[in-house]
């Protein structure tokens, strides 16, 4: 299983699309690592610097609904992973992006809007999130406070995370 948790990058916008996560001009790369430096390069968002420390340190992204909409490019999760970001939390995801995350053993965690709002309250400080996949809960901590939030990760999604992706699982089973 991959490792999950660490400093959080907050992206306070809905409908962040795959062209913003990794622009098409980098789709000519045939190695995953080459995508890393271009993560979120085209995202225009107040207070966000695609070349800044927040993105370099981040291990988790917290965003608003419909994250990852647009193209089917698995380059989006790869660009995240190439930067050490293995988990994204949002109220909802675009279907293909969510499946691409789990297919690569990464976490695309859907939480209710209220829970995501609660996470966003930590954005002013250096927040970190840790995950307890066994106990299905996460802890966000910053500036001396912390909150625990329960989530549910079961069935197929959980198996893919544990198996580090769909290919190994499918190659053995079918």
């Amino acid at each position: 299983m991959k490792s999950f948790g660490g400093p959080v990058l907050f992206l306070d916008r809905t409908d962040i699309n795959t062209d913003e996560i990794i622009p098409a001009r980098y789709l000519t790369e045939i190695s995953r690592e080459a995508l890393g430096p271009h993560l979120l390069e085209d995202l225009k968002l107040e207070g966000f610097d695609p070349k800044g420390d927040a993105i370099r340190n981040a291990r988790v992204i917290v965003a608003r609904r419909n994250f990852g909409c647009g193209s089917s490019r698995e380059h989006a999760p790869w660009a995240l992973e190439a930067n050490g970001i293995t988990a994204v939390i949002a109220p909802s995801f675009a279907r293909i992006f969510r499946q691409n995350m789990f297919n690569g053993g990464l976490l695309a965690l859907e939480l209710p809007e209220t829970a995501v709002d609660l996470l966003f309250q930590f954005r002013k400080e250096q927040a970190e999130i840790s995950f307890d996949l066994e106990g299905q809960r996460l802890t966000i901590a910053a500036g001396g406070h912390q909150e625990e939030i329960a989530f549910s990760l079961a069935g197929f999604d959980r198996t893919l995370v544990e198996a580090e992706g769909w290919l190994g699982f499918a190659a053995a089973r079918y």
Partner: protein
């Protein structure tokens, strides 16, 4: 029990249900292009799994950047080309025979009602126009599809859109789907299939139905789908005439895939198009759609007619009607990219290509090209393009560029005036 088209396809193709709600389907067609497949090929090779489940079910095209524009795109094409040869994939389309995947593969007769289809491309939903379940997937799903011929889905629920009324002059399937996306918003159809029906859809050509289904993903939909009928049969007849005694017999067979009377939809929407205006997107999300009357007069630098949404013959005919005998505004760069060689040839035979050229358009070879900002018409920062494509994301056609989505009629009218123009006023 009364079932939807999608439920029928899921039941008939179900290989496994490893977890409740996760359905692993057998695939009839796996389609590949040079942007998402080479990484899959390299990964399979690295794992010692360089093989495919059934070469006859794999369809391959180089379409996004073709002919190659630089060493990197040449290398992507080469990986795909070498692999197709190695795996003895017969249906492989290279320079001179290639065109935009979602226009080319239907034209070759590869899609049939009731089929399951995947591709590493989000607009795979286009093929739902034939009454198939066709979904875009990422590279890992593509790898498993190539290797094992299966793909896992949560069974999508069906959202039915009943389109009634009469389409006014100068409005088209593109205007209908933009209206639908405006209504549903960019995630209104997530984890659902949009079933398009009603008299307006029944009267549409296969090309127009493909335009509808093509943009289902812009509302978050897993796929779009139309009921197979006599229009479907006629389109596919050259490919199925050996299998059926008559078109009526084919229709009867295809009809098993229609949603049953009394089936359960998750949601039903009615849209009456009688008062529909030509629609244009504003800003950077495909649900930010406005009637052309609110967008008129905005200057554009480039007009792009092409893509898997509106680069087919009927689109070229519509645009050419406006362009015939006219020249486009001197401030505008007009680019036409017929979506396939057949479309190019037919347009040539009908004199359409000549009309485009005479009006001042540049005509490119069939390719995705500028649609995703990779070649043949990339925008400079600050430039604006009126396009018949399907995505207006920030930077989609070039970093810092802006795209307004519209029908071929509105695009042609816009090319003539150099500003967004209501085609009804020309």
């Amino acid at each position: 029990m009364a079932l939807t088209l999608v439920e029928k396809i899921f039941n008939s193709h179900l290989r496994d249900e490893p977890f409740p709600g996760t359905k692993v389907l057998d695939l009839d067609v796996v389609m590949c292009h040079e942007i998402t497949t080479p990484i899959a090929i390299n990964d399979l090779m690295a794992r010692g799994l360089d093989r495919v489940f059934d070469a006859s079910k794999i369809k391959v095209v180089i379409d996004h950047v073709t002919p190659a524009k630089d060493s990197k795109t040449a290398q992507q094409a080469k990986i795909l080309r070498d692999w197709a040869r190695r795996q003895r994939i017969h249906d492989f389309f290279d320079v001179g025979r290639n065109g935009v995947c979602h226009a080319l593969f239907p034209e070759k007769g590869f899609i049939r009602p009731g089929f399951t289809v995947i591709m590493g491309d989000s607009h795979t939903c286009t093929h739902g126009a034939f009454g198939a379940f066709a979904a875009g997937v990422g590279t890992t799903d593509l790898e498993v599809g190539l290797l094992k011929g299966v793909c896992a889905f949560r069974e999508p629920r069906t959202l039915r859109i009943h389109v009634s009324g009469t389409l006014p002059e100068h409005t088209y399937a593109k205007d209908v789907i933009l209206k639908v996306i405006q209504t549903l918003t960019v995630n209104g159809a997530t984890d659902r299939v949009i079933e398009f029906g009603g008299p307006v859809v029944e009267a549409m050509s296969m090309e127009s139905r493909m335009t509808l289904c093509n943009m289902a993903v812009e509302a978050g939909g897993t796929s779009g789908v139309c009921m197979p009928d006599m229009t479907t049969v006629k389109y596919l007849w050259p490919f199925v005439e050996k299998e059926y005694e008559s078109p009526e017999a084919a229709l009867q067979d295809f009809s098993q895939w229609r949603s049953d009377e009394g089936c359960r939809y998750e949601q039903e929407l009615q849209i009456d198009v009688t008062d529909l205006e030509p629609m244009v997107t504003d800003d950077f999300k495909p649900d930010q759609v406005r009637p052309v009357s609110e967008m008129e007069g905005r200057p554009v630098d480039q007009v792009y007619i092409g893509s898997c949404t509106n680069g087919r013959l009927e689109d070229l005919r519509v645009a050419a009607k406006f362009l015939e005998g006219q020249t486009i505004a001197p401030s505008v760069r007009g680019i036409l990219s017929p979506a396939t060689p057949k479309i190019f040839r037919d347009a040539e035979d009908e004199g359409l290509i000549r009309i485009f050229l005479d009006s001042g358009f540049c005509v490119t070879n069939p390719t995705c090209g500028a649609c995703l900002g990779m070649s043949n018409g990339v925008l400079a920062p600050g430039e604006v393009c009126a396009a018949t494509t399907n995505r207006n994301f920030n930077g989609r056609m070039g970093k810092g560029g802006m795209v307004h989505l519209m029908s071929p009629a509105t695009a042609a009218a816009t090319a003539l005036r150099g500003v967004i123009t209501d085609p009804r006023k020309l």
